[in-house]
């Protein structure tokens, strides 16, 4: 698989399918793993980083499961390519920054991705569309077993998997669920929800992970505790919390539909109208308007476009994706024009 092949299909997690996919965009699990005795990436010499990459590459090559995936060595990619992988959630923003002996392994459906030499030697992640952490666990557990067969992990029976940052030690697992909560935002109840989440030692982030702000009413909720609870307990705890948030968002949507239907229809249809007719548009404005259009699809207010196409647009309108589609470098102004063009053509179909 070449990098450009990814452009022609939709990432598994954006398909808009799976349980509760009207509110939950995707479920993601990641495991942090390190090779025994080998210095962590930030403390490694160039030579050591290289040997980590080689060891991981060799381990991947020996596994039937991982062998068929594609490895992208970041030194071989240009800035747009790296940003493209970040936009597709296949690797973190941090991973794209310094490139020494870094790589990412990606499967064709973009369900599995394995970053090598990020903060830890190995950061494996599995993404599922909708609310489906248990299935993500099934997949990531197999990927982890496959790598553990070949690599000797840094592990202590007492403290579990040993990671560069002690906040990840233990299971090394972080579960994140991406939620679309426009009704809670509109009714100004979101702040209460976020404060409650923080109290329960979960964190909330924006669309692109650590350090990003919530735009377009998207919120990513993850566990903070990784030690002292088993993987299934962690998943159970996240599930319990997410179920409550889904319930609240559903109720809010229902209330809005019953008491403020006119206002809601107006807001949604105006957003749809701007997207269908704009000639210059930033990615931030697009994300905010698309969020309302997505709500419109979920509530049956907008019927001529489905959730999958809206999800796809969220991805395609981003800077690196636009440049990949146009196959050339574009300035920010040029992108705003191309973005509007793309949206008009996609929505007029």
């Amino acid at each position: 698989m070449r990098l450009n092949d990814l452009l022609t299909h939709t990432s598994e997690w954006l398909k808009g399918t799976g349980p509760h996919s009207d509110i939950v965009i995707s479920s993601r699990l990641r495991l942090a793993r390190n090779i025994d005795k080998q210095p962590f990436p930030h403390w490694s010499s160039k030579k050591q980083s290289k040997s980590t990459l080689e060891a991981c590459r060799e381990a991947a090559g020996k596994s039937d499961l991982i062998r068929k995936m594609t490895i992208f060595v970041l030194e071989d990619l240009d800035t747009v390519d790296k940003q493209f992988l970040v936009e597709r959630h296949l690797m973190s923003y941090e991973h794209a920054q310094k490139t020494n002996s870094k790589a990412v392994i990606v499967d064709e459906d973009e369900v599995v991705s394995v970053m090598i030499n990020e903060e830890d030697h190995i950061r494996a992640q599995v993404m599922q569309s909708g609310f489906n952490l248990p299935e993500a666990w099934n997949v990531i557990n197999k990927v982890d077993d496959a790598l553990a067969k070949e690599l000797n992990y840094a592990f202590s029976p007492e403290w579990g998997y040993l990671t560069a940052c002690p906040t990840n030690a233990g299971t090394g697992m972080r579960g994140s669920v991406m939620l679309h909560l426009p009704a809670l935002v509109m009714t100004r109840q979101i702040n209460q929800v976020l404060a409650a989440i923080a109290k329960l030692s979960f964190t909330t982030r924006g669309l692109y992970g650590e350090g990003t702000q919530a735009t377009g009413n998207f919120f990513q909720i993850s566990n903070q505790v990784s030690l002292g609870q088993s993987e299934t307990d962690i998943i159970q705890n996240i599930n319990n919390l997410i179920r409550q948030i889904i319930e609240q968002e559903s109720q809010c949507r229902e209330t809005l539909m019953n008491s403020n239907r006119g206002m809601l229809e107006d807001k949604i249809s105006r957003s749809f109208g701007i997207l269908k007719s704009a000639h210059i548009i930033t990615s931030q404005e697009t994300t905010e308007l698309l969020s309302l259009v997505r709500l419109g699809c979920d509530l049956g207010i907008i019927k001529d476009i489905n959730r999958r196409h809206v999800n796809e647009l969220f991805l395609l309108i981003q800077p690196a994706h636009l440049q990949k589609i146009e196959n050339k470098k574009l300035t920010s102004q040029e992108r705003d024009i191309k973005r509007a063009e793309l949206i008009r053509s996609k929505l007029s179909k």
Partner: protein, 183 residues
């Protein structure tokens, strides 16, 4: 929206702080956001946060901590405090006395009860026991597993089972200690 700090430039960065359940929103322009983040890092770097979490006292650090150094990767405890990241897996053993309480503060527990690498079970039996480390014979429960069961038994008020588990842990720890001495 205009920047909350300079009141001139349009705000492009939106910062949400939660302090004691009180949520504050700040809307900043890029320039002021840079200044603010530099300020925040100075006030509150991750390493300070970690150090703060472990309740490190300055004096204790100077006496005990500073001298610690990981024999495998050469990271000193001072490096760890500065960077907020460990150097390698062996650092956990090297800085054990500080990391135990730190992990407990971060996670509310310092006892792993999740998955273990499958291939490790066989290897463990061949490895030399480190001081302070406990292990079980192949096919038997590890001390860590027993401790979790003990904790659960106490929570369930199953005291007979708890007493049995406590004795088993003691026994295992004693054997491990003696074996360690022999080797």
């Amino acid at each position: 929206m205009i920047c909350d700090i300079c009141g001139k430039n349009p705000a492009t960065v939106h910062l949400t702080e939660i302090i004691d359940d009180q949520m504050n929103e700040l809307h900043l322009c890029e320039e002021c956001a840079h200044k603010k983040s530099a300020q925040m890092e100075q006030q509150f770097g991750l390493s300070d946060l970690l150090a703060g979490l472990a309740g490190f006292e300055k004096q204790k650090d100077e006496k005990e901590g500073i001298a610690l150094k990981c024999p495998n990767c050469g990271m000193t405890f001072k490096d760890f405090k500065k960077i907020g990241r460990l150097g390698c897996g062996e650092c956990y053993a090297a800085f054990r006395s500080f990391l135990g309480p730190l992990l407990k503060r971060i996670h509310g527990s310092n006892l792993h009860c999740g998955k273990a690498p499958g291939s490790r079970i066989a290897k463990l039996t061949r490895r030399k026991i480190e001081p302070g480390e406990t292990r079980a014979a192949p096919g038997q429960d590890t001390v860590a597993e027993l401790r979790i069961r003990l904790q659960k038994a106490v929570e369930a008020e199953a005291y007979e089972e708890a007493a049995r588990l406590r004795d088993r842990i003691k026994e295992l720890e004693r054997t491990a200690h003696q074996e360690g001495k022999k080797e």
